[in-house]
Amino acid sequence: MKLSHLLALFAAVVLLVSPDLVFAAADEAAAVLEGAPKPSRLDYPLIGGISARTVVWSAAQMHLFLAAFVLAVPLFAIATEFMSVVTGDDRFDNMAREFMKITMAAYSLTALVGGGLLLSLLVFYPHLMEYLVRVFRGQMLIYAMLFGLESIMLYVYFYSWDALRRGNRKWYHMSIGLLLNTVGLTLMFIANAWVSFMMSPAGVDPTGAVTGTVWEATRNPLWNPLNLHRFLANIAYGGAIVGGYAAYMFLAEKDPEKKAHYDWMGYTSNFIAILGFIPLPFAGYWLMAEIYAYSQQMGITAMGGILAWLFIIQAVLIGTIMLAANYYLWSGLMRTDRGAQYAKYVKYIAVVIVGGFLVWLTPHTLILTANEIQNLGGTHHKILGPLGIMPAKNTAVNLMLVFTFMSFQLFYRSSRIPTVSWAKSGNMIVVALYVVGIINIVGAGIYGYITPTVYKVGASVPQVVSTLTIIIGSVIIDVFMLRGAKAEKVHWGRMTERSQYALFVLPVAFTWLMGLMGYIRSSLRTNWHVYTVMKDNSPENYIPTLGDAGNVITAITLGFMAIMVFVFWLSRLGQTKQKGTEDAA
């Protein structure tokens, strides 16, 4: 069957299941429009003493963790598979395969928890589900179909690995991987449409009556910012988890050759995690800017209202991630003989990273008691207060990113000696890029203090541009300058055990951070199921305290860690052979 036939078949199925995906629901305009349900407090099922919100929250967050992992690893795998083709280094291919095997075990658990989430939503929030089904109609069936397709693609991609490993066949295999990732991302985008619709409904009138097409509801104001944010976060998350696995294997292995392999795997995973992580703050800014554009109230609730303290926790988590990733990179300088000559810069980078972390951590708009205000001499601390506003935080974040990239660059440079004639000029250009970029970041930060609030966010744009210019410009120059460079030996495996713990910080902090951000995103709706359209009148319609949220997030993260340990154990069990059986055979 030709591809065009397959596409036609798919289109026919789509039309059959959900014609309103393509055509506007014209007949509905004439019909009496039914608004969103208005359940009273008594309409929410009470089952024993079970906290409905905690059950749904736990199931949703666990599903998201697992889904992020099983979507991230194929992204990670296709990237490393491509690297293996480009570099001819089989280690990339082996690593990708090793991780796809782990994904196979995690995939069924993802589906299982997803089923649990659906069940809990139907049991505890039937009116909300009825409404969402009414809005998204056949799209939910398409989601289910795509899930089936994802399963098929996943199995085909994994089991065809060895059969399609060499020559042109490798490209067939990578094409399957590309399709797998396309289906996976489509699934994520559909699910994102549902949650973003709950925050910024579109395609419905003020009463919640469906007036538009499914596509209009899908393309709500926060859909694309959320898509980008989650896509980048998935890449970072996948890298972080693989890094954690590699670190554990590094610590557990005694064989130097295997130790070297896992050290290399840890470094590569950390690289991918940070690669995904660097643009994340910018995607976050976009998401926040769109939230403000959609509803100033929602934006202020997040940044200056009841949820403001959460961003201090977020700063701690991201600061931990930055410090851990940098510490790991600095430790990596000992892998090369020339690394020592770059180690002298580490202390300066450390000062910037820690300083940036402390600025980011500084709160601005605090919820204070009258006594605290009296003791503080006002609502803001006289010296530290100015460090709590956006210009200071933007400056801190951009500098942290620039210097984290510098840590990468130092390690990369430590294993290569440029041989091109213009190496000195190239180095001067790189230094100039850093100097001008940093001056621009700091200058735009200072400008942010003297401009009205509405322009402060605008002042962050040149900062972001400066950061990206430094990074992209340096990479381009390095690519040309280090072409044909004299390669120094990298002693993979020559790492301290302590450095591996930095790699554990990443997945733990990422997972907790994702839980925290999920809590923030949901809380922004305050006491609405669907913001401004369908009120949440359930007994648990309030925003839980930070402590309560911390307890739930920690419990779910522990649960996820336990699942991951189980999945890794299953994967290793598959490689274990009964002693003596090989010899007997």
Partner: protein
Amino acid sequence: MTFLRVIGFSVLLLLGYMGFAHMLPQVVPDTSEPVEVSTEGLDMDGFIALGENIFKGKGTCTLCHNGMGRAPDTLEMDMAATYPARLADPRYKGVAAGKEGPKAIEEYIHESMVAPSAFVVEGFGKKGTNDTESPMPTVNMPPIELNDVEMNAVTAFLQDLAGLEPTVPLPSADDAPVAEEPATEGGEPAPLLTSGEAIVDEYGCASCHDLGGSGADLGPSLYGIGKRMTRAEVIESIIDPNAVIAEGYDADFMPADFGESLRGSELLVLTDYLMALPDAAPAAGDGKEEPLATTGLEAIDKFGCAGCHDLDGSEADIGPKLNGIGKRMTADEVKTAIIDPNATIADGYEADMMPDDFADQMDDSELSLIVDYLMNLPE
């Protein structure tokens, strides 16, 4: 061993994050359902006070209308000069364009709430719209959902703020009740008080007025007030206590900021409660006596100390501040100051202000609990 070390490290890290979440201030949500209160009988002063409460509370106006530059700082600007300038602005094409006077300003304020884009103040429009589209939500739509009475109250408040006589009609018995939700935006959300007893306790009314058997006589007895005053007069005497002074009492004695500290619905609930009070205090022994306090905090609440003294942020200043009193006085001196308050008068304060019958009102155990509590209060 490696496995256990790694797990231990990860769990410790997680517990660290969880502990940090607990270290930060916990904003405890108010889980009570919204209350609805009648506005019947409100006079214009009460209506203006209600409008101010809505402006700062349910309306969430001060989230943006403040000094941060997101929206014009209505509370600080000279609105008396601003409103006429807006009406005359050639960019303004709304319902009050070209008109003058308080009624036109009422129409302009109302329009700015229900159709915020009718006129966008220069520099405050949505990005890229050249000040033709306002980022302000329509206040009679979700999520704010002010009803007509509430919008009129806000209009009355804004007109009063500009020094104008409000032109909006007062609510009638047929109007929708005022719905108020717990404030959760911005500062610490004080729980919404929904009963008269709770409001009287919170604001320490019985410290000065005879209420709940307190026997206090610094202000007039509140028993039978429903027969002596109209509902509007009671509201006025709460939010503007110096407007009319009862015979035999002094002006400037009752705090004048209850209009700001009481939420809109609290003011109305308190008024309803006071209007329904019996003519006289219930006789002793009728089973309604308050139980003995068992903690210092309970005793402090029971006798309403924070109504006159600055205590844990109450900011009352009729008597000296109680926080840090343990550093200024001995336990015996504190005890004497309670049971014989005129024995020594603190600098800057007057004699005969504090009730001198606490020795009769308090059980010995309650007196000890209060003294212990006060002696251990931080600065």
